[in-house]
Symmetry: C2
Subunit: 368 residues, 2 copies
């Protein structure tokens, strides 16, 4: 009975025999780690709806984590919104964290403006636009820091839900996936209804042109690839996952951005000569991403060969009493700040029902 209850709420999108992974998650408590960064890629008009305007997108990641900790935003006036109205998915994440009583830790992988929350700072500066072909530097130092952090987190013996907030991040995901040889053009998700595939592709091609890297770098030096045409969240979350997976289960909480992280884990672990335990790794997103007709999350998930477990939290806001939340059903907002992954963890551990999480989200929405 209990199993059915949980399975209705979690969509299983790849390998079907995931009972071992679920039981590893069920057998322990968790922590929620959210890695944030800002990239000037997000400032390109029309690239993202994670924040109402390009100028406000400078602060979306910071506002997200401030809301997570304080239930209010300090850096800007209010919680980030899609220009068409629906609030940032952070309210889903916050609602789940409230019900799960799970500890939250923020990793700052490079923000131009620092959030007003206690965060583990791995990098001082924000990231350049990927069209420069030099998105960020200091990748080796980030690897060193993320590795020790993973070692410390491992000692907690908890499962880790690893989220992100990186406005412009689906474009850097497209860029990294494609460079790694995965046919991702037209397939990544978006914070916008109609996506912006053509614009994203144009940006990615410009990034490649200026980066002047060839595919030999996949083996020779994948760190250079992510530094040139990716983002620091991808690198940090990949390193964390490699080392965490050796000890504890990890839920990469996100959509196509986390598929890019998973694809990168494969090449990075070989380069670092580190074991990665794929039996301890899943990607979990929301239903809105999984069924998005303007993207191909499931197709991309299949293309990331070593990744076994891919889930989606079967969230449905069509019955919500709030129009803002019903906007999720129109694809106006789909995922972010680890929403899909943390809710999946809550469903797998039966810490709340769909009714309870929706109720908590509505409570937060009403008090915004």
């Amino acid at each position: 009975m209990k199993m059915q209850f949980s399975m209705r709420n979690v969509m299983i999108l790849k390998e079907k025999t995931c009972e071992r992974f679920f039981s590893e998650v069920r057998s322990r408590d968790g922590i929620f780690v959210c890695t944030i960064a800002t990239t000037e890629t997000a400032l390109i008009p029309g690239i993202s709806a994670a924040g109402a305007t390009p100028e406000l997108r400078r602060y979306t990641a910071q506002a997200d984590v401030e809301y997570l900790y304080y239930g209010k935003v300090l850096t800007i006036k209010e919680i980030p919104k899609n220009p068409l109205g629906p609030p940032s998915p952070v309210i889903i994440t916050k609602a789940a964290c409230n019900l799960m009583d799970i500890p939250i830790l923020i990793i700052d992988a490079g923000c131009e403006v620092k959030p007003k929350v206690p965060s583990i700072v791995l990098r001082k500066e924000g990231l350049r636009c990927i069209t420069t072909g030099k998105a960020f530097g200091g990748g080796k130092s980030l690897i060193q820091k993320a590795k020790v952090l993973a070692e410390e987190f491992s000692k907690l013996e908890r499962y880790v839900v690893l989220g992100e907030s990186v406005p412009g991040g689906t474009t850097t995901a497209l860029s990294l996936l494609t460079f790694l040889g995965i046919d991702a053009m037209g397939k990544v998700s978006s914070s916008m209804v109609d996506n912006a595939h053509e614009l994203k592709e144009k940006i990615v091609l410009k990034a490649y042109k200026n980066a002047k890297l060839d595919s030999k770098y996949i083996v020779k030096n994948p760190v250079k690839i992510v530094e040139s045409v990716g983002d620091s969240m991808q690198l940090v979350n990949a390193v964390l996952t490699i080392y965490l997976s050796q000890k504890v289960p990890v839920i990469l909480a996100g959509g196509t951005q986390m598929l890019a992280v998973a694809a990168f884990i494969d090449v990075l672990s070989k380069y670092l000569k580190e074991d990665v335990n794929w039996k301890n790794i899943s990607v979990a997103t929301t239903r809105w991403v999984a069924v998005d007709k303007n993207a191909d999350f499931i197709g991309l998930a299949k293309a990331v060969k070593p990744l076994k477990y891919v889930f989606a939290a079967n969230l449905n806001f069509s019955e919500s009493k709030f129009e803002g939340l019903r906007g999720y059903e129109k694809g106006l907002v789909k995922e972010g700040v680890g929403a899909g992954g943390i809710v999946t963890a809550g469903f797998v551990k039966q810490l709340f029902s769909h009714e309870e999480i929706l109720h908590e989200i509505e409570k937060l929405f009403a008090s915004m």
Copy 2:
């Protein structure tokens, strides 16, 4: 039998009936949190031996936490040393953490130069000399951040060993203790053999003169006191302890610096109108601090009235094969980076014997 084993190694210096506290610590796993900061107070010649020269003391805290994480120092050439030779107590802390497999988290409460480790940054800038009467600003923001951090740490349901590395910190401790009405002149500990009581007192009196605060601030606004004549570690660790104590046991790991934190907890909790659970709070230091004839740790501990539990790890290096370590028995180094508190936790939980911890320290010393 087992109890006797542990009691030989832990000196009980105040309230004798501490079995409840010990059993709370024994019933759970722990985390080690080390709060660091730099104050220009440490640059006054003759004030400190935490670092071989005033210039090197700018980097003592950073080097300490780098060694904790990496087993090597990145910011400067080598692990901080007393000018007379013995190494920073961080090797004791590191040895204990190795044997206990306890997760380590670093809080940066304000460092002029940032350490090259992942740390939770609460404040960007370092602190001014207390003689300015304006050591730091932004106390309210630090309280807000430390509070949410304590709430997240509490959810781990682990005991917390809370250490510090703040060169010059016994002078700011003297300053805060005295302002709070505790007769501390000539009684605080020191990183030097002969202490430097006269110099410290002169500095404190200059701080008071320039701060222009009267004793009414103890009730009216104690945050202003610590901002003016104390340091940010004292404020952050006090806030963390207040909120942590409501849920989990806390070991304030240090000597007279942690007595200053304990004294400040009393006034700050009243000001913030927050409950503090003294049954969940202890101060634990090393034997070298407890028996130091040039200070009066036990007398000061008694003067901090609400503080119930005060311990010292009964470490003894007189039989060490290394002269550098035997220097601890001459009072050349005594405490720091939470050494006494983390070893006390290890002894209470019987995770190592005196022989085992000494062996691990010698191993680290030999490989330095």
